[in-house]
């Protein structure tokens, strides 16, 4: 099987998203009210005029919350509805409920809030200066950095900044809450974390978790943006539902979604890289200033992954990574594909670019020389095993004749002035597992109905990544039945409890493994029963193949269908539930050492860009990739993740220019007309990709490797490819700061940035 099982439904428009679900006519609609200020003390709120508007049923504030007004996941520092102060532009203050969405929105115009504006901080460095930290600084270190720098022959230091990124899942945030009997509530949510929604709703409503049922059919995209931040909207819907005993629908319009939700964390970092004369990396020190936003959300976990991936795919004996999670007056920033990893790797690549420029050698030479090898140690104490860093680089070079590509680019640049090409290699190494060890668990419930059809429920949420297809494959493979016999049911907290969010690229591994276990349990029972029917000595004599039951490898009268019918009549348990927890991983939060990852994903990309040096516009000509899929179990799905992740990464580095007003904290790029994701033309003209040969992975489901996040980081190569094209035009690049994204404006400005000598000549 090599396709996405949802594809046909998507193509016909049958797939249901939150806004498509048919709701009762009596349903009320919610509109979230906020004030146009990023930091304010609320003085008075007048709602009576709004309450008397047509169709308005209620206007709820924090005072209406029966349980705790608290939605923070790691640190309890985030109210569902603001109380005395507002800490970011767009922070929910009130919830207006009306018979129609339009009426709720209309009524919001009649709300009057008096408030006193307070100083706004948007810059993480300023926040750290003022000691506005969400958590204490985090330090990951290995070797002895001081000694490392003393032993280095060359030391390169600098600053690198990377911008935030809006998730822009096409389906906006939303939830429907339906009252059940006895004060229980069913919530249909577009969330990656059904249990998070359940837990927080229960807390907000002062109910036990069993009173809340959370149902997720699928998401129209998540990318991390619905890991924690689907929760507030579900809670608000549930709050109104509990209050009014009526179904409530709350779907954010795009503008509100963009303004009210957190994004990829912008980072500003100072780095220092020490190298030996021969180009060997010896010591690396980075201070990361993470822009966390107004509340903690997932920032500590994101920051730790930045520190885990601060050295990317390279070995450096002496490292020191210090992370500051800054509290600013932006919406609380959150998970986004890569989860801090890309921000860490960007700084590493920036240090390499600067070092190469300083040493007058190519970045590729430095990159290649320092790639990880088996037996070395990651700076967090895990031993490098089954390392594919060099193998993927070498396969890329060989497969695509990279030397020739480099030569052609040099030729082009010699011939042309107003068009310059640039290239960059981007190796990646990404650790797979939630870095919080306890989250690495999942469970599956498999029912075989007595007509032979199979239904599977897991903790995984389908959001386009194809996890349901892979789970279907697991059952299909083990039972040897056609995929069409199998359906993957919605993710529902009543069927599967205590789920980890579908995140960290781990969905297929964790839920695939738990499904494998559940299916194997069933298979044992079925083999036993088949052995009984066929008078075999033991179950090992029986096997399943393509819907047939074999005895000693030969066909019998039994088929899957007949076997199931017989098993049911003989009162064999045709359901099983199984749990999986990733073995052998641990991490000591006191020393920041351990074995946090089940395994690592590797790969190398070569990105080639063209820059129109007259207009300052860049485009991606080609991307060549050799990626470590392990043994891909569904190549169509995996290739889609590779290409989609890569293009999203390029977007982060190019046109996706997330802008806040520094003074007011207001999001300026708050619409699709001002925030530009890659379109058909903006994507690379060609993506040539290849599977790394000979990679296997017993820790992954069916020897595959996780695929969700790692490819995004290939996109980082775009930045350095453009930088190299600019260097080809200017002849000189050392005086140009490293600050992503490389927008059209920055490209033009950098291309024509006066050289120092010219500035002197002017003054």
């Amino acid at each position: 099987m090599d396709y996405n099982i949802d594809s046909n439904r998507h193509s016909s428009g049958e797939s249901l998203y939150i806004d498509d679900i048919v709701v009762a006519d009596s349903t009320y609609y919610g509109w979230v009210y906020s004030i146009p200020c990023a930091h304010a003390r609320i003085k008075t709120i007048l709602i009576h005029e709004a309450l008397s508007q047509p169709g308005v049923k209620a206007i709820l504030s924090y005072k209406d919350i029966p349980g705790e007004n608290q939605i923070g996941g790691i640190v309890f520092d985030e109210p569902l509805l603001a109380e005395e102060t507002v800490h970011f532009f767009g922070q929910p203050l009130l919830l207006i409920i009306a018979t129609k969405l339009r009426l709720a929105k209309e009524a919001s115009r009649f709300i009057k809030v008096e408030y006193e504006s307070l100083p706004v901080i948007t810059d993480p460095r300023i926040a750290v200066e003022k000691n506005e930290l969400l958590i204490p600084p985090m330090i990951f270190a290995s070797g002895d950095c001081e000694r490392g720098f003393a032993e280095s022959d060359v030391i390169v230091s600098g600053r690198a900044d990377s911008g935030g990124q809006e998730h822009l899942y096409l389906e906006p945030q939303g939830a429907i809450a339906i009252p059940l009997e006895g004060g229980q509530i069913k919530i249909i949510s577009s969330t990656q974390g059904p249990t998070a929604v359940q837990r927080v709703c229960a807390k907000v409503l002062g109910l036990p978790m069993h009173a809340i049922e959370v149902e997720v059919r699928r998401l129209g995209g998540g990318f991390g943006g619905k890991e924690d931040q689907a929760t507030p909207w579900a809670c608000l819907a549930a709050l109104a539902c509990a209050k009014l005993k009526n179904p409530i629908k709350l779907v954010l319009p795009r503008f509100e979604d963009m303004c009210m939700t957190g994004k990829r964390h912008p980072y500003s970092s100072d780095f220092k890289l020490g190298l030996k004369k021969d180009g060997t990396f010896h010591a690396f020190e980075v201070s990361f200033y993470q822009n966390g936003g107004a509340a903690t959300d997932l920032s500590p976990a994101v920051l730790s992954r930045t520190l885990f991936h601060g050295a990317n795919a390279y070995f450096i004996p002496h490292t020191k990574f210090v992370g500051y999670s800054a509290r600013t007056n932006l919406p609380p920033n959150t998970a986004f594909r890569g989860f801090g990893g890309p921000q860490g790797m960007f700084v590493m690549e920036a240090a390499i670019a600067l070092s190469a420029e300083k040493l007058g050698i190519s970045a590729a030479t430095l990159q290649r020389k320092n790639l990880l090898r088996d037996g070395q140690m990651f700076h967090y104490g895990q031993k490098v095993k089954n390392c594919q860093a060099r193998r993927s680089w070498e396969q890329l070079e060989k497969k695509y004749d990279c030397k020739k590509i480099e030569q052609e680019i040099a030729m082009h640049n010699k011939k042309h002035t107003l068009s310059k090409k640039g290239y960059a290699y981007m190796p990646i190494c990404f650790g797979i597992s939630f870095t919080k060890t306890s989250m690495n668990q999942a469970s599956s419930l498999v029912h075989i109905y007595h007509d032979g059809s199979v239904a599977i429920s897991t903790a995984a949420v389908e959001m386009g990544q194809g996890v349901n297809s892979k789970i279907c494959q697991v059952a299909s493979e083990i039972f040897q039945i056609q995929p069409k016999r199998i359906t993957i049911h919605s993710t529902n907290t009543s069927r599967i409890a205590n789920t980890s969010p579908t995140a960290a690229s781990s969905g297929a591994d964790l839920n695939g493994k738990s499904t494998e276990r559940a299916c194997l349990l069933l298979k044992e029972r079925l083999l036993d029963h088949a052995a009984k029917i066929l008078n075999a000595q033991n179950r090992e004599d029986i096997s399943f193949l393509k819907e047939e039951v074999l005895l000693y490898g030969k066909k019998t009268e039994l088929t899957w269908q007949k076997l199931i019918e017989q098993a049911f009549l003989n009162r064999i348990n045709l359901s099983s539930h199984a749990h999986y927890a990733t073995p052998d991983i641990y991490f000591d939060l006191n020393t920041n050492k351990g074995e946090p990852f089940a395994y690592h994903v590797y790969g190398t990309a070569l990105i080639v860009v063209s820059v129109d040096t007259l207009r300052g516009l860049a485009e991606v000509d080609k991307v060549y990739v050799v990626h470590d899929y392990g043994q891909s179990m569904n190549y169509t799905v995996d290739l889609g993740q590779l290409e989609g992740g890569l293009v999203q990464g390029i977007g982060w580095m190019s046109t996706e220019d997330l802008r806040f007003d520094d003074n007011t904290g207001r999001l300026l790029s708050s619409t699709l007309s001002t925030y530009k994701v890659c379109d058909l033309h903006g994507a690379p003209k060609e993506i040539l990709s290849n599977q790394l040969e000979g990679s296997t992975n017993p820790m992954g489901i069916f020897n595959s490797k996780a695929i969700g996040e790692p490819p995004l980081m290939y996109g980082i190569g775009f930045y350095f490819a453009v930088r190299n094209a600019i260097k080809a035009f200017r002849g000189y690049i050392d005086d140009i700061s490293i600050c992503a994204p490389y927008t059209a404006e920055k490209i033009l400005s950098d291309l024509y940035k006066p050289l120092k000598s010219q500035i002197y000549a002017r003054t």
Partner: protein, 499 residues
């Protein structure tokens, strides 16, 4: 002359897939809400409500001048339903009418759908391409119909592969096919359901409205709606809106002995593809690929676009260089006003409440005149310009004898750079001429810093676009290396500081 229509809302009728819809709802309701909320067809999704994603794309079929039905892909989130009167609206449910549809198979094999939210919009646009690019069915051309569809999951390559797969297969069959209608071919191939063969007959059942004078007092005049429904959707929902589109046998773009006439309800795409205009601006079609996206261009009108008065409008920018005259109609009859005088201040035009823009008169350009349009934006396609510029240039013996140079995004209104244009006249095609123009232009513009760029950037970008015009039109007359160095020197001077 054509007259504007007033429709009684009760009469509003259109064919939705294979069913007649008589809609008595508000004229200011957008099409997607009728499709999703009233008709409960949920395959058309809403992701942005500003025309920037294409998730809500539907097909719209209407009569061409020659009486045939033509289909266009449009965004339904900004289209007032009233504009659908007498037309055939096709949603995803009306295309993928059976299981195992060939398009479905191709999307499945190539993994062209991940989360699926954008997929119906892509398939609608693809179908539009298949209908219009028959019989060659060139994959690249078909793919260009998707330029208004955004996907956040796939990175587009799998979608391109799926379309190539479909086009290659169909093109092979099309060669052997003797039938000459794209509809009968696509029906035969199972791409379109059979009801497509009857559309002409079905649409003829709808009475097309009478043409009457507009009464603008109580109604908002709406063209395609692509700007107004982003800006004031709630207001439009409350009020009644009046479409400027109407069915007429007259051609929307006409050439007279000394001028070109363009009706205000001409869509941007009709303008872009006009064979009449191509005589004067051969590269117009290509230049205007950068204008919004196809599903927007298919409904946005010339009139609506000009009256919207964006200082960064691409169309205004080009028309300013054509010495375009706006013809306004009102209670007191008609009056002419030069486009250059039409813009009074930011988003303010010289248009009285009772007046409307009925068309444009453009003096016939000389046969020697050449045009170029340049645009810099954050994203190359489907984006609003940071800076744009157009030029009409006539050169004889390497000397400029006529020049009209415009610039957008560098002032509160769209600018014709009069001094700079005049300064170019009689100048040789030499680098010094360009530098002179750049320096002069800097004094005519007053850009501000905003989300689309800093004022310094806009000043620099315009200067580079002035150079780009000349390099595009007369590449052999200039030394690129030398120009690049000169531009570097300019950047090092204070010319872009606005001082």
């Amino acid at each position: 002359m054509k007259k504007i229509n007033t429709l009684s809302d009760q009469a509003m009728t259109f064919l939705l897939n294979d069913t007649f819809i008589t809609d008595s709802q508000r004229s200011g309701q957008v099409l997607v809400d009728v499709i999703r909320d009233q008709q409960k067809l949920k395959g058309t999704t809403v992701a942005c409500r500003e025309g920037d994603c294409g998730a809500c794309c539907v097909l719209v079929g209407d009569y061409k001048c020659d009486g045939d039905i033509r289909y266009r892909n449009i965004i339904s989130c900004l289209s007032p339903t009233i504009n659908m009167h007498g037309k055939h609206v096709v949603t995803i449910e009306g295309i993928i009418y059976k299981s195992d549809h060939f398009i479905q198979q191709a999307f499945c094999i190539e993994g062209a759908s991940q989360c699926g939210f954008c997929t119906p919009g892509f398939i609608v646009s693809l179908t539009c391409g298949l209908i219009n690019e028959y019989p060659t069915l060139d994959a690249q051309k078909v793919i260009s119909y998707l330029d208004g569809n955004v996907c956040r999951c796939t990175g587009y390559k799998s979608i391109e592969r799926a379309i190539k797969r479909i086009c290659i297969d169909l093109a092979e069959k099309a060669d052997k096919n003797t039938s000459n209608s794209s509809f009968s071919f696509l029906i035969e191939q199972g791409i379109l359901p059979t009801y497509f063969s009857n559309i002409k007959k079905e649409l003829a059942k709808i009475n097309l409205p009478l043409c009457v004078q507009p009464n603008l007092d109580s109604r908002q005049l709406v063209g395609g709606g692509t700007d107004l429904f982003v800006q004031i959707p709630d207001k439009l929902y409350e009020s009644q809106c009046l479409p400027i589109s109407c069915k007429g046998s007259e051609k929307k773009i006409q050439i007279f002995s000394d001028h070109i006439w363009i009706y205000a309800d001409t869509t941007i795409e009709e303008f872009k593809k006009s064979s009449e205009l191509a005589v004067y601006i051969p590269n117009l079609d290509k230049l205007f690929d950068l204008f919004a996206s196809l599903p927007i261009r298919n409904i946005a009108t010339i009139g609506g676009n000009l009256v919207n008065a964006s200082p960064i409008g691409d169309l205004t920018n080009l028309l300013l260089t054509m010495r375009c005259i706006c013809v306004l109609e009102g209670e007191k009859g008609r009056r002419d006003i030069a486009l250059i005088d039409f813009y009074l201040a930011y988003k303010k035009v010289d248009l009285k409440p009772s007046e409307w823009l009925m068309g444009l008169r453009i003096p016939l350009p000389s046969s020697q005149a050449k045009f170029n349009f340049e645009k810099i934006s954050k994203r190359r396609y489907l984006d609003i310009a940071s800076v744009n510029s157009s030029i009409q240039l006539t050169v004889q013996n390497d000397h400029i004898i006529d020049a009209q140079l415009s610039a957008g995004g560098v002032a509160a209104i769209p600018l014709l750079l009069k001094k700079t244009s005049n300064g170019l006249i009689n100048q040789p095609l030499k680098e010094e001429t360009l530098i002179g123009a750049i320096n002069c232009a800097q004094r005519e513009i007053s850009p501000i810093t905003d989300i689309r760029g800093t004022s310094t950037y806009k000043r620099q970008a315009l200067s580079h676009l002035i150079v780009a015009h000349f390099l595009e039109l007369y590449p052999d007359k200039f030394d690129a290396q030398h120009i690049a160095n000169t531009l570097k020197q300019l950047a090092a001077s204070e010319v872009y500081s606005g001082l």
